[in-house]
């Protein structure tokens, strides 16, 4: 069902696998899938040269819904999988995806270190401020007073600022998008993929089932008032006072992406015997 006259160019739907998502109708993740496929189409990426990697959670189901290569790993380790893949196969486009629980709770250490390592990966987190898949517990981005069966009355713990942490850890591109705006989200993902080094996109993606209150996000989000900076200190200042609803690219860093200290030898064999001779 190609809409373009050229029958070579792929459109968003060509990046969908056709498998029916298990997501609840109304879930923000549908739009994220839409945006992701759109971004890939717009970048004319070959599906076979892209790998979409994830952990566990509702959002982490996304790889199987794309027509690219994919890996649905274990909870919290998607960035490590992605790093290994990208370092071993630098020519691939590696897109890491998942949820706020997967990425910031159990996966928090990899998040920090992936930002620091600055491997050329795009990390997309569908942040719904809840553990959707396990029936609604608080995640690191959840409001401290949000009531749940596991933490009645709330966790009492102040929320985690993913963008601040990412910046402090050394991520090279930061942006925030809202699933309710799939076009904007697609544009953001597109830029993130193109930006060298580690790019992180926080997508506000409501959970209709456990956070019906997030309906309200539509009224809260607004475009970020200023252009993205490339100065970390300035970006930090802005993010410190950010209320979580500014949408758009927020930081475009200029750090060199991770390079292996690797002699790109293409020799098939090498004789190590000499090292061990007496």
């Amino acid at each position: 069902m190609n809409q373009a006259a050229s029958d070579i160019a792929l459109v968003a739907s060509d990046y969908k696998s056709g498998l029916k998502p298990v997501w609840c109708p109304g879930c923000g993740d549908y739009s994220v899938l839409q945006a992701l496929t759109k971004a890939m189409a717009s970048l004319a990426l070959k599906p076979e040269d892209v790998a979409v990697i994830s952990g566990i959670g509702c959002s982490s189901r996304i790889p199987a819904y794309t027509s690219t290569y994919g890996f649905h790993g274990v909870h919290g380790r998607s960035l490590a999988l992605s790093t290994g893949l990208k370092v071993a196969r630098p020519e691939l486009t590696v897109i890491c995806t998942g949820g706020d629980g997967d990425g910031f709770s159990i996966g928090g250490n990899h998040f920090m270190h992936a930002c620091r390592r600055n491997v050329d990966i795009t990390y997309i987190v569908m942040d719904n401020q809840v553990y959707g898949m396990t029936k609604g517990q608080a995640s690191p981005t959840t409001d401290p007073f949000w009531d749940s069966a596991l933490t009645p009355g709330g966790t009492g713990v102040s929320p985690f600022h993913p963008l601040v942490i990412a910046l402090a850890s050394g991520a090279n591109f930061l942006g925030r998008a809202f699933s309710g705006d799939p076009k904007g989200t697609a544009a953001m993902i597109e830029e993130a993929i193109q930006h060298p080094g580690f790019s992180f996109v926080q997508i506000l993606s409501p959970c209709v089932t456990y956070r019906p209150d997030q309906k309200d996000w539509r009224n809260k989000v607004r475009p970020a008032p200023v252009e993205a900076t490339s100065d970390p200190a300035r970006a930090a200042r802005r993010l410190m006072t950010d209320d979580g609803f500014n949408i758009g690219p927020l930081y475009r860093g200029e750090r060199e992406p991770f390079k292996l200290n690797q002699n790109n030898s293409s020799t098939e064999t090498y004789d190590f015997t000499g090292q061990f001779e007496v």
Binding site: S67, F71, L81, F272, T273, E277
Partner: protein, 576 residues
């Protein structure tokens, strides 16, 4: 004064000292020179808890034929000093035939040592060293020992030149002079070993540690990506590979922890690059969840686990075989995978290469269980032969419509599409899935995928590599890993003694090989299972998995005292 060789075929010497006395250096030099001269053997060590300046002993066994066994006791213990020697005295057994050499000014021989009844010789080690400018007691010690094992002047000076040359001629000369004084001090001591063989041709022999051999074998097997998190005693595998990989276009990345390193390795391998990580017990424990992912998603990956004493942080610098259980059974759910174990330092090379071959051929994780004893030992061995195990990972060579990544095949192995191949796109999944990889909770899918994942392992032809089977007889010594050396030597001694003992040393711990084992056990009436664990893990494992047509008994002990051949011999002699 000269005297017969301590044993017709071997001599064991320990050098102890503390606080930077140089015992390890002495041991290493002695060993290297002997190896150059044509001796086979092994050098191991034992350490105090300090990072530096701790008490240490180098333990050298020299043999005329290749062996990986320790001897029952040491013929010579030379102590540069005695500080804190009780910390590892039990690791240096002596008999009344042994000779203890110590410094006249170094105080009394501690009771833990002297109670062996060994002959004590006190020499002016430190004082003599002072005669030379920058002369050091450990070089006196080297001189004494070189004399006692009659190592030629020339080989020794060549070696010193090689090892100390960068420090300048003066340093070398001072050492040589000191060594000479040491040799003189030994004039009245018995010669405990004398090489009556030719110095081997250059390139014929090598000195290598198990950890280096494991790294090398892995690279020979095809590993080109490594994700690393350091841990004792596995770090050297990673460190060796970090320099070696770039020579072949490969790479190593340091990860933030073991959860990351195993997943990085899985990620690399999913990308088609044979990948590895190395760790020890605590790290392996952190990896098991993700090793299970490799099982379910059918991604080959090699984990070299160099065992140390457990449980928990345990005894990081001591050897034990107690990670057998976790390696085999430590994954949640039913998660069939490969577990291998080298039998000696040099076998780390073969087994690592083979483990890569198995992981790649079977699209499954392979855990190779080495241990601190062989990992950190240096062995003088014959140069290994080149081996090629042939074909590797079965990949999809061309995209197909409706590609089934997890197709249910006869062999159980399904061609794997490597990212980059058009038309091969699929999503690897740790959730149970249908043949295409789509998550499924259906009984039929679960059953067929479980069967397939098991079948590919059990139906594979492991050839003769699964075990080393030597000798014949109605008694079998069944073992694995680094106790193989002692078991083999025990079997040899028993044979000399008129008891026909068969050695069955298992290299492929999992999957089990029931038919091959049955054949190996044909005619065996008693089997002694030898292992270095507290709970007889291997004995229990063998009983669980194999139908044993004979009486079976465990001879097991936790680390750090290794099992010696004489103990096995006694155990069998006393088993009526």
């Amino acid at each position: 004064m000269t005297q017969e060789l301590a044993s017709s075929r071997s001599v064991s010497i320990a050098v102890a000292g503390s606080g930077g006395a140089g015992a390890m250096t002495t041991g290493n030099l002695l060993f290297d020179v002997a190896a150059k001269q044509g001796w086979f053997g092994t050098l191991t060590r034992t350490l105090g808890p300090q990072i530096r300046g701790g008490e240490a002993a180098a333990m050298v066994r020299l043999t005329t034929a290749p062996t990986s066994s320790p001897d029952d006791f040491f013929h010579v213990l030379l102590a540069i000093d005695w500080k804190n020697v009780e910390r590892f005295a039990a690791e240096i057994p002596l008999t009344s035939d042994s000779i203890i050499i110590s410094d006249v000014d170094g105080g009394d021989v501690p009771e833990v040592i002297s109670r062996s009844g060994a002959k004590i010789v006190q020499l002016p080690i430190a004082k003599t060293a002072k005669q030379i400018k920058q002369g050091r007691p450990n070089m006196i010690a080297l001189g004494i020992l070189a004399e006692m094992v009659s190592l030629p002047e020339r080989t020794l000076s060549d070696m010193l030149e090689k090892k100390l040359g960068r420090k300048g001629q003066e340093a070398v000369q001072s050492s040589l002079d000191t060594i000479k004084l040491g040799r003189e001090l030994a004039a009245d001591l018995p010669v405990v070993a004398k090489a009556d063989f030719e110095q081997p041709a250059p390139g014929e022999r090598m000195v290598i540690s198990g950890n280096e051999a494991a790294g090398w074998g892995a690279i020979k097997g095809g590993i080109r990506f490594v994700a690393a998190y350091p841990i004792t005693p596995a770090t050297e595998v990673l460190e060796w590979m970090s320099s070696a990989l770039p020579k072949l276009g490969g790479s190593l990345v340091q990860a933030e922890d073991e959860l990351s390193s195993i997943n990085m390795a899985i990620g690399g391998s999913y990308g088609g690059i044979p990948s590895l990580t190395a760790t020890s017990g605590p790290g392996l424990a952190l990896m098991t969840e993700s090793i299970g992912l490799a099982v379910a998603s059918e991604v080959p990956v090699v984990i070299v686990n160099v065992m140390r004493g457990g449980p928990s942080t345990g005894l990081p610098t001591k050897s034990e075989q107690s990670d057998l259980n976790i390696a085999i059974y430590g994954l949640h759910g039913d998660a069939p995978h490969i577990v291998t174990a080298p039998m000696a330092v040099e076998d780390c090379l073969f087994t690592a290469q083979w483990s890569v071959h198995l992981a790649e051929s079977l699209q499954a994780p392979a855990i190779m269980l080495s241990d601190q004893f062989m990992g950190q030992a240096r062995a003088a061995v014959e140069k290994p032969e080149e081996i090629d195990f042939g074909t590797k990972r079965e990949v999809l060579t061309e995209g197909v419509e409706g590609y089934e990544r997890y197709a249910v095949t006869d062999s159980g192995v399904s061609p794997m599409a490597i990212p980059g191949l058009p038309g091969g796109q699929y999503t690897a999944d740790g959730l149970e899935h249908s043949p295409t990889g789509t998550p499924s909770t259906q009984d039929a899918h679960h059953a067929e995928q479980m069967d397939k994942r098991l079948r590919k392992l059990t139906e594979f032809d492991y050839a003769d590599h699964w075990a080393a089977i030597e000798g014949d007889g109605d008694i079998a010594i069944v073992t694995w890993g680094s106790t193989t050396g002692a078991a083999r030597e025990a079997a040899e001694r028993l044979r000399e003694f008129g008891i026909n003992a068969k050695l069955i040393a298992i290299r492929l711990l999992s999957p089990v090989q029931p038919e091959k084992m049955a054949a190996a056990l044909a005619g065996v009436e008693k089997m002694l299972v030898v292992e270095q664990t507290h709970s007889a893990q291997f004995f229990r494992y063998v009983r669980a998995q194999y139908d044993l047509p004979c009486q079976a008994k465990a001879f097991n002990r936790a680390g750090p005292i290794i099992i010696r051949p004489g103990e096995i011999v006694n155990e069998i002699k006393n088993w009526s």
